[in-house]
């Protein structure tokens, strides 16, 4: 099914006789849900864009590329840097903005500006009974009623099908530069990232892979120059500086986990404490792309060798199997949290038809 209006979407959900597999572009879907495919790609187009207020309201099935183009026309962008996981997951398809929010998909700039959930100002969605619900709005400060925007962000289509989303957007910076630090082992290279994030220099990216640590600065030209010099002095060692488009290319690689493209093996996505990042990767004997100063580990391991990932991460984060087979994809919840999650799902989708089994 591919509805082209919100009303049609509501009818499709209300009239469903069995499980539905809710899909934007299917470019980042995880888990084992099955059912009749319900695509949101027909709900496409910008509803409202006010560059002077940094706000964008867009229908959920709008391609991310189209959103990017519209914003770029006014020298603006989505601040949270949408990852393109097609190369990592071996997918084709057109990524949609609703899918991005449903997955709370966020790139390197999360350390500075937050995740997709933090940029989201409002949603409209169709719940599992077919009712149309709105929450939040299009203004940056809004505490009117409960924040279901956050609840829907990252819910992977299990609570409702998004029909419209609004975001706070960001002006493109005048300049960007990346400090490339070489010659350090992983523990020292990650410590460098933490040091940069603890500095007053407003770092907008802190990542490490292939033996190099990367630290990004963005802003007005004079300011970027100043902060690059200050950080270089603070860090010491083998530091080189990459500017402009070559710097941007470095961060697309991190964002999309490019070092693992086309390579065999299972990929885990681990959220953890930056200070645990080096040790976790070493103990699991995988190759790592670290982002968020070490708070995010993309870990490539031999197929089926991830049996102890959950145990190693326990108590200091959580791990999701984003590529590979065997075992549960999503981390287990504590029983009292699982009970709340089950309760919320039963309220929003009483028939249990939306992406059933997706997060289990």
């Amino acid at each position: 099914m591919r509805p082209v209006t919100e009303a049609e979407l509501a009818e499709a959900v209300a009239g469903a006789s069995g499980p539905l597999l809710v899909r934007g572009g299917g470019t980042r879907t995880l888990g084992h849900a099955v059912g009749e495919v319900l695509e949101t790609g027909g709900l496409s187009g910008v509803e409202l864009y006010e560059p002077g207020a940094l706000t964008l309201v867009v229908r959920a099935g709008t391609p991310v590329a189209e959103v990017d183009a519209v914003l770029a026309g006014e020298r603006q962008r989505l601040a949270f840097e949408v990852p393109d996981l097609r190369g990592l997951l071996g997918r084709e398809g057109v990524s949609t903005i609703g899918g991005v929010l449903a997955a709370n998909a966020s790139g390197p700039r999360r350390v500075q500006v937050g995740a997709a959930r933090d940029a989201a100002l409002g949603v409209r969605f169709v719940d599992g009974s077919g009712a149309i619900v709105k929450n939040g709005g299009r203004v940056m400060k809004n505490v009117t009623g409960y924040d279901l925007v956050k609840l829907l962000a990252g819910s992977l289509g299990t609570l409702g099908v998004l029909s419209e989303v609004s975001f706070k957007v960001q002006a493109l910076p005048e300049a960007e530069a990346t400090l490339v630090v070489e010659g350090l082992d992983d523990a020292a290279g990650l410590a460098t990232l933490r040091k940069a994030l603890g500095s007053p220099f407003d770092v907008s990216g802190a990542a490490r892979h292939s033996g190099r640590s990367l630290i990004r600065i963005e802003g007005m030209a004079g300011s970027v120059g100043y902060r690059v010099r200050a950080l270089t002095t603070q860090i010491g060692g083998e530091v080189s500086v990459v500017e402009g488009e070559p710097s941007a290319a470095l961060w697309r690689q991190v964002r999309d986990v490019a070092p693992f493209h086309g390579r065999p093996g299972d990929v885990w996505r681990i959220a953890t404490l930056p200070t645990a990042a080096a040790e976790i990767a070493a103990r699991l004997k995988g190759e790592a792309v670290w982002d968020w100063g070490g708070g995010l580990i993309w870990l490539l391991v031999d197929p089926g060798r991830g049996a102890n990932v959950a145990a190693v991460v326990a108590g200091r984060g959580h791990a999701t199997l984003v590529r590979g087979h065997g075992g549960p994809v999503f981390p287990a919840e504590a029983p009292e949290v699982a009970a709340l999650v089950a309760g919320i799902k039963a309220k929003f989708d009483p028939r249990g038809i939306l992406n059933a089994g997706m997060m289990g």
Binding site: K141, G145, G343
Partner: protein, 477 residues
């Protein structure tokens, strides 16, 4: 403003309920004497008061759990309270309720500069969180103007903002995890110091749920390295519209000041008479603050100057030193006090799209004449969060009601232009009955379902947020 009739059965069982609480808690933690309960009869929305059945002041998560369990067993409504600074009546009790105050839970549990978080008990005040990490060069970003007094628990309940959230976001953007106690006493951990949600983002919906889903007893908060410096400029305009356009110009130019504050003429005149900050007598005044090193501040201010001068301001004043910076902020920071010198006032909190600013201010001026009540506007212009201050005389019969009616009209206008009823204060009891202006019944139904899951008997801070008629059946149990 109506509150539901208290449950006489609960009131009749007061001595038994208090005895059960006393049996579990230290002697000084349970308050039931009428004169001592006066403290808890209202929060900062002082127009409405009602002493609670009792007040309990636990010191640990375990004690909070035990208190809630007893109240749950006894069917007693519980009203959580941080420091009682809510402007929306979020901590106002009913005669059949127990106030659960977290003020004694104010410890720092852990600070971790390497991973950039602090874990605190929720009764700790907002400013003292920053104070705890200041020596290492860090701060906690959300800065509501009550930050000296307000507790993190209340900040989380109301998803509090502040003047600097244009750059740093509000509470929800700086909250990593919580320990929450449900009404039945169950202790739940949501999120954690790593910040990234696992599974459904329950933390995201707890933040801003106005104490209706659980009592937050501990929180992991993001701390940030302090910027090297900050400096404000003051720009005066003879038209609200032009001032609004100047704000949009700055934002579009890609400059992100940490704060853009706006004051209109009635507010400027009131603060000048009160604080004598030396503001120009103009229609609209902007205070714009930028951060960074000396060179970075100069670079940003030069750009702002260029943008502002193109709009022909009556004054552009840059702070040359710390003293001048303080003077620029002096009037803004005295605005509420200055208005309070003139008369009683009611502070509203609606948010509007920045593009509607001039239209909304014009309509508020017209309504002010219709209602015969003066109003001054001071607000966070960068994000459209308005704070109209309506002046009234609490001792004059009918004035409060007139003021509330005027306030309601302003909030309806905010929603009409694409904004919302409350940007940072919360709904509480104050805006509860206006919720239908912004939300359809099914929108509120979806929200109430979340409460059904966390608190199926609707005992926790009931009769707030949702219109009474809409929640009546659920509250009846």
């Amino acid at each position: 403003m109506d509150m539901p009739a208290p449950d006489q059965g609960v009131i009749a069982r007061k001595s038994r309920i208090v005895a059960r609480l006393r049996a579990l808690m230290p002697a000084d933690a349970v308050i039931d004497a009428a004169e001592e309960l006066r403290v808890y009869e209202c929060d900062a929305l002082t127009a409405y008061r009602c002493p609670p059945l009792a007040a309990v002041l636990p010191r640990t998560t375990g004690e909070v759990s035990a208190v809630l369990r007893i109240c749950w067993e006894e069917g007693v409504p519980v009203v959580p309270r941080g420091s009682g600074t809510s402007l929306a009546g979020g901590a106002m009790p009913t005669a059949d309720s127990v106030i659960l105050g977290v003020a004694r839970m104010n410890a720092v549990i852990e600070t971790d500069y390497d991973n950039r978080f602090i874990r605190v008990q929720s009764g700790r005040t907002n400013l003292s969180v920053s104070a705890a990490v200041e020596a290492e060069g860090f701060f906690y970003a959300p800065d509501p103007s009550s930050q000296l007094a307000c507790a993190i628990a209340g900040n989380i309940a109301m998803n509090s903002g502040g003047a600097h959230c244009l750059k740093y976001g509000v509470t929800t953007n700086n909250l990593l995890g919580v320990t929450l106690v449900k009404m039945d006493g169950t202790v739940v951990t949501l999120g954690g110091p790593w910040g990234e949600p696992s599974g459904l983002d329950l933390l995201g919906v707890v933040c801003g749920s106005e104490g209706q889903l659980g009592v937050v007893t501990e929180a992991w908060l993001r701390i940030l390295p302090k910027p090297e410096g900050a400096r404000p400029v003051l720009v005066g305009f003879n038209s609200n519209e032009v001032a609004g356009a100047c704000v949009a110009d700055i934002i579009r130019a890609g400059i992100l000041p940490v704060a853009i504050e706006f004051m209109d003429r009635p507010c400027i005149r009131a603060t000048e008479a009160f604080a004598k900050a030396g503001y120009p007598d103009c229609e609209a005044l902007l205070i714009i603050e930028v951060e960074g090193s000396e060179a970075e501040i100069s670079e940003q201010l030069a750009r702002i100057r260029q943008i502002a001068l193109a709009r022909d301001p009556v004054e552009f004043r840059e702070a040359a030193d710390e003293d001048q910076a303080k003077r620029i902020w002096l009037g803004r920071k005295s605005a509420f006090g200055a208005m309070g010198q003139i008369n009683d006032y009611m502070c509203l909190d609606g948010t509007i799209p920045v593009s509607s600013l001039a239209h909304v201010l014009k309509r508020i001026g017209e309504m002010s004449r219709e209602f015969g009540l003066d109003v001054g506007n001071v607000f966070h212009a960068g994000d459209g969060n308005m704070h109209p201050l309506i002046l009234f005389d609490a001792n004059k019969p009918g004035d409060l009601e007139k003021c509330e009616a005027f306030g309601a009209e302003i909030l309806k206008l905010c929603v009409e232009v694409g904004g919302c009823l409350t940007g940072e204060h919360g709904v509480g009891i104050e805006k509860r009955d206006l919720m239908a202006v912004q939300f359809a019944p099914e929108d509120m139904e979806a929200q109430m379902r979340v409460k059904d899951v966390f608190d199926p008997r609707w005992l926790l801070n009931p009769a707030k947020v949702f219109p009474l008629g809409l929640s009546a059946e659920r509250r009846a149990g």
